[in-house]
């Protein structure tokens, strides 16, 4: 008796073999397997004529530059789809306010937000941008795997013409703009065409609980060694020195970044972080930095369960009085300020010697970009102009954020925000704001750094192996440049 399954097997095998053989002649991307009428009309590059010739340059597939319109009222009825990650306390309120104000000023332009968390946005944005009708405005991480890849695929619009029309070059210092610049083939990061504008400044540092610091007889440290010594003191006196929730993988990057800033020369970190050749992850300084993190874990400095802990939940716990220090970015300031008020303080990671320039991860929030597929780039650019205007900076300051512009002028005089503003200014003006390490290569963040840091902290990898793995990815990428 022939069973159902052997019959099914035969049919399946025959079918699959036929599919494989019959179709092997036609190549994906050659356009013969898709509707030909739709393969040439998109400007976002996903259907760029393939053939390996120079026509692959995405810049060529963009429509010829049109006259730029900066008058919102004359744009007619327009709907803009906006993908953002402004969902935390502070971020959410500034953004809601600005969107409402924009709508009030330009009733003909409707903003439809799709808001997601940082990691959900990172997971889904690449897919969204491949659509023939992508969102109009997106918050794209500066990283090579994000903005770099999107630029390479021709999915983001060259903003230089708008920059000229709106005078963004005068509004923003070049140190800020360069983090959103790529060559039009996406290969060179840090110079070239402008693809986005950030709203908010960011500095990764140390939040601390003032009451606890006083109880422990400690003061804000002036040197890195002093900081490490205060962690020891906290541990000895039965406190949890450091709070971390790393289930998402990226939060530990913001612990390692400042440590690295204390050990490794800033020029080297910049090369490593931007994925440009000339540096090495296996230098004694980098190994020293990784060892410090691993020692902190071994010494029990972190809260119990930090590997499976949720980032925002742990920040909330810290705000509610657990732990002495929290190494995190300024973006959690609003949550901490709301719960702790004047009881919270912030300092940038102290340098090796007192008074030396400070070096830490930071810069700007995820820039807002316009997609090449947007039907209304003028309106999209107008919106970006609006949310980065002088007035917007005031809204940002009022709602518990660190505006990227007019920072000194808008600085609050009390509370944790006063510290954050001051430290941001100090590091920007006198020290080094270092790139986020996951910017480096397309695979660096997701495949090497984030799991690597978890491996390191869980003792699954040695310090040396951790650095070697990072070096392999970095070296492979830079060698191909």
């Amino acid at each position: 008796m022939t069973s159902t399954y052997s019959r099914l097997s035969r049919i399946a095998l025959a079918g699959l073999a036929a599919a494989a053989l019959g179709l092997a002649g036609c190549t994906p991307g050659s356009g013969d397997s898709v509707d030909p009428s739709s393969s040439a009309d998109t400007s976002n590059g996903d259907a760029a004529p393939a053939g390996g010739s120079s026509s692959e340059d995405p810049a060529d597939t963009q429509p010829p530059a049109q006259e730029i319109n900066t008058d919102g009222a004359s744009m007619g009825d327009v709907e803009l789809i906006l993908w953002d990650q402004e969902v935390r306390e502070g971020q959410a309120s500034q953004f809601t306010t600005l969107v409402e104000e924009f709508q009030a000023e330009y009733p003909n332009i409707t903003i439809n937000r799709v808001e997601q968390s940082f990691e959900d946005l990172a997971t889904t944005l690449a897919l969204a941008l491949t659509d023939p009708n992508p969102p109009d405005i997106v918050q794209a991480n500066n990283a090579r795997n994000d903005m770099g890849a999107f630029v390479e695929a021709g999915q983001l619009l060259d903003l230089d013409p708008y920059s000229e029309a709106y005078g963004w070059g005068e509004r923003f210092p070049e140190t800020v703009l360069k983090n959103s610049r790529y060559s039009s083939d996406g290969k060179v990061f840090g110079e070239g065409t402008l693809y986005g504008l950030p709203q908010v400044g960011e500095v990764v540092g140390v939040f601390y609980n003032k009451t606890k610091l006083a109880e422990l007889g400690l003061t804000v440290p002036d040197t890195w060694d002093e900081f490490v010594a205060s962690l020891d003191t906290a541990k000895e006196k039965g406190e949890t020195p450091l709070m971390l929730g790393d289930v998402e993988g990226w939060p530990a990057v913001h612990v390692f970044g400042p440590i690295q800033g204390a050990y490794v020369p800033p020029e080297e970190i910049t090369l490593l972080g931007m994925g440009n050749p000339g540096a090495d992850w296996t230098t004694p300084e980098n190994i020293e930095a990784a060892k410090q993190l691993s020692d902190w874990v071994a010494g029990g400095y972190f809260n119990e369960g930090f590997l499976g802990g949720d980032y925002d939940a742990v920040v909330e716990e810290f705000a509610n009085g657990t732990g002495v220090f929290l190494m995190a970015g300024s973006w959690v300031g609003a949550v901490i300020d709301e719960v702790m008020g004047d009881d919270a303080g912030f300092f940038a990671p102290p340098p090796a010697t007192a008074g030396a320039p400070k070096a830490t991860t930071g810069g700007t929030s995820l820039p807002f970009s316009v997609t090449s597929g947007s039907k209304n780039p003028d309106a999209a650019a107008l919106f970006i102009d609006f949310i980065t205007s002088d007035h917007a900076m005031e809204v940002l300051a009022e709602t518990g954020n660190l505006p990227i512009l007019r920072t000194a002028e808008l600085a609050p005089t009390t509370g944790v925000w006063a510290d954050v503003y001051a430290e941001f200014q100090d590091v920007s003006d006198n020290g080094y704001l270092l790139p986020y390490l996951d910017w480096a290569t397309p695979t660096f963040g997701d495949e090497v750094l984030k799991p690597g840091l978890q491996d390191l902290m869980a003792g699954q990898k040695t310090v040396e192996k951790f650095c070697e793995d990072l070096q392999v990815d970095y070296a492979t990428f830079t060698a191909g440049q």
Binding site: T4, R7, L8, I11, A12, G15, P28, S33, V34, D35, S38, S39, D46, A47, I81, W83, V87, V114, E115, Q116, S117, E119, D120, T124, L127, A128, T130, D131, P132, N133, P134, P135, D310, Y311, D312, A313, E316, N320
Partner: protein
Amino acid sequence: MISRFERTVNYAILLVFAALVLMPLASIVAGAIAAPSAGATGGIHLENFPAAWTQARFGRYMTNSFLVTGTVLAISVVVSTLAGFALGTMTFRGSGLLFYLFLLGIMVPAEAIVIPLFFDLRALGLTDTLLGVALPQIAQSTAFGTYWMRTYFRASNRSISEAARIDGAGTIRTLWSIQLPVARPALVTLVVLLFMWTWNEFLIPLIMSPTGKMRTVPLGLAFFQGQHTVDHTLMAAAAVMVALPVVVVYLFLQRHFIRGMLEGAVRE
């Protein structure tokens, strides 16, 4: 002889087992009606539901979910009933091959077909549309539905339709006015199963709605979770709302769910 002791043990097992099943669900329902933050007072807080509904933009996601589920059900139930009727009651060349082809589809996971489907449907401009999200699920549902209805028609009393045919009723009329009323239980089972699978589907709407326009409510919950990890009450309330439609249908038609899941697989 079954002793009183054995009977007691049985009840104990059943109760422990039921408690283990219900506890995680109870925890989420409890979370959904708990006080929103530490400062608030206890008691039942039903206001979490409208709050979560607005913040998670469930209005849009629920609409999408009902549209997608409705479309998948309407099309796949009709076409699989027709195909199942033919395969179950008629003899024709190629019927065997056709049947096995449909069987194959029951085993193919969405993971295998979504990648090519995504690129093809995008080329046709169908991603982010109702059809783009529904069509792959219609194909999956049709595979199962055809198998299910064929099995039913083969087992059903053939003399009814034969009598009808002798009376001169056409094929479609036979199906519509004589077979279908009798087939109602099988159809209801098919409908509830497809409803559940489509409502709960995650991967297909995630990929087929890249810009999020046609995201269904399970995706809404996933992305809401990313933003509101701190606010457990709102997340729990949102989770309850995602599960509720299927659970309500299940409570009323649970026999159909259980029978469908078991008999879709077993037929002695």
